[in-house]
């Protein structure tokens, strides 16, 4: 059992990695969600901006996350903007998942009955208030399962950042195993930690489903 006691002695590295992963994840999904909603709002009207956003979203759908992180971390210094790995990783997470949030919400926006919007317009809602009060809440509640999936994908994408040298959970396991040469134990601990986070996320989503059912948007 000496391996496990080594792991226990190295707990600080794991804790640091764990909190770094959690911080990256939490910060990025909150910003990504806001960005996603903002991009969705820009799609409401047919403006040049909407066309740019459409291109961006479609582009992100066809790009692996790591390539975007590479672009921001290795590519941007060429243009005179040097970011450290953590910021570049966070930015990549925000842009990438923001685009996916937009795509998910847009899919639901297309099938939203026009009656709601027309009724709200007739009541004198300004476009922004209409979006914030009428459209967005419905879309978010309706697309909950898809948004939840995207959250789990975002959590897993944080692990890619270890390749651009961000010190997160996978990097912690890698450095512990490189120091003490106990790869199996180190990675089992990390996989269990990831698993716990995603179980927590799933429970939170179930709780959110109950809220949706109470508001009458879901049945069951």
């Amino acid at each position: 059992m000496t391996e496990w006691s080594i792991i226990w002695d190295a707990r600080e590295a794991f804790f640091n990695g764990f909190f770094n992963t959690l911080a990256l994840f939490a910060l990025s999904i909150v910003c990504a969600f806001v960005l996603g909603c903002a991009m969705l709002y820009s799609l409401e009207e047919r403006t040049p901006l909407a066309i740019v956003v459409r291109w961006l979203v479609n582009g992100m759908r066809m790009l692996p996350f790591l390539i975007l992180a590479y672009l921001l971390y290795y590519g941007l210094p060429r243009l005179g903007l040097r970011l450290d790995a953590w910021t570049a990783g966070l930015l990549a997470l925000i842009v990438y998942h923001g685009a996916y949030f937009t795509e998910i919400l847009r899919g639901s926006r297309l099938v939203l009955p026009a009656g709601y919007v027309e009724a709200a317009k007739a009541h004198g809602f300004t476009p922004f208030r209409l979006f914030m009060r009428i459209i967005l809440p419905q879309l978010v509640i309706k697309t909950r399962p898809l948004l939840g999936n995207q959250l789990i994908i975002a959590l897993k994408d944080t692990a890619f950042l270890t390749i651009i040298t961000v010190q997160e959970l996978t990097a912690a396991a890698n450095s512990v195993q490189a120091t003490y040469f106990i790869p199996t134990e180190a990675f089992v601990v990390v996989i269990v930690l990831y698993w716990l986070i995603s179980i927590g996320l799933e429970l939170a989503l179930k709780w959110a489903a109950r809220f949706g059912a109470k508001r009458g948007f879901e049945h069951g």
């Binding site: 582009g59 759908r61 066809m62 790009l63 692996p64 996350f65 790591l66 390539i67 590479y70 672009l71 290795y74 590519g75 060429r78 243009l79 789990i152 959590l155 897993k156 994408d157 944080t158 692990a159 890619f160 270890t162 390749i163 959970l169 996978t170 396991a173 890698n174 195993q177 790869p183 199996t184 990675f187 089992v188 990390v190 996989i191 990831y194 698993w195 986070i197 995603s198 179980i199």
Partner: protein, 213 residues
């Protein structure tokens, strides 16, 4: 960016493609197998498969690749990089495919099964002739979607030193001291590959919708 660099990029793209293709091929079949086993509800095995699906879906690919590559020698198994990468990608995609197949199973109409059994078909014939062709059509969009996810996740194999389409950009940049063009070119190649898959998915969806009507 000269011809040499483009050649290296294409080589990287080929590595990404063949490793992903093997993982996809095994993953689709094993996913079906696991879905069938789970529908059979064998005690203990079912709990084990649920645990596997849950774990495999929660584990990031990078972590899984590193885990398999580094800890296999500890158990006395010698894996080369490519095998470890294929194994990791397969373990990951199988879990997702199993869920796609299973949802196709669950939503299969009971009337057809009853009709087939009333016509005197055995379970095996019914599955092969009636159920599988329809399940294939209805789960194809999901499967193709999972394929594009796998390709998007495949840069994870770069961490154990496989020179795939992502990692090859570092190699080129190490020579030219200019990382931006190779990364942009790699992005273009990825967009081509995944764009084709997205197109296929749209076609598959159209076909699946026709079946539903």
């Amino acid at each position: 960016m000269n011809g040499q660099a483009w050649l290296l990029l294409l080589e990287g793209a080929w590595t990404t493609l063949w490793i992903s293709a093997i993982a996809i091929a095994i993953g689709v079949f094993c996913g079906l197998g696991i879905a069938l086993l789970r529908m059979a509800r064998i005690p203990f095995l079912e709990q084990l498969l649920i645990l596997y699906t849950s774990l495999a879906r929660a584990t990031p690919l990078v972590t899984l690749v590193l885990f398999i590559f580094l800890s296999a020698p500890m158990f006395g198994i010698n894996l080369d990089r490519n095998t470890a990468a294929i194994l990791a990608l397969t373990l990951n995609t199988t879990a997702f495919n199993a869920e796609i197949w299973r949802s196709a199973f669950i939503s299969f109409s009971r009337e057809q099964k009853e009709a087939a059994l009333a016509c005197g078909m055995t379970q095996g014939v019914f599955f092969r002739r009636i159920m599988l062709p329809q399940m294939l059509t209805s789960s194809l969009p999901g499967l193709v979607n999972e394929m594009s996810f796998l390709i998007k996740g495949s840069p994870a194999i770069a961490i154990i030193g496989i020179v795939d389409l992502t990692r090859v950009t570092n190699r080129i940049a190490a020579v030219t001291y200019d990382p931006l063009p190779p990364i942009l070119a790699a992005a273009l190649l990825y967009m081509l590959i995944i764009g084709v898959l997205l197109k296929l998915q749209a076609i598959a969806e159209k076909k699946a919708n026709r079946l539903a009507m």
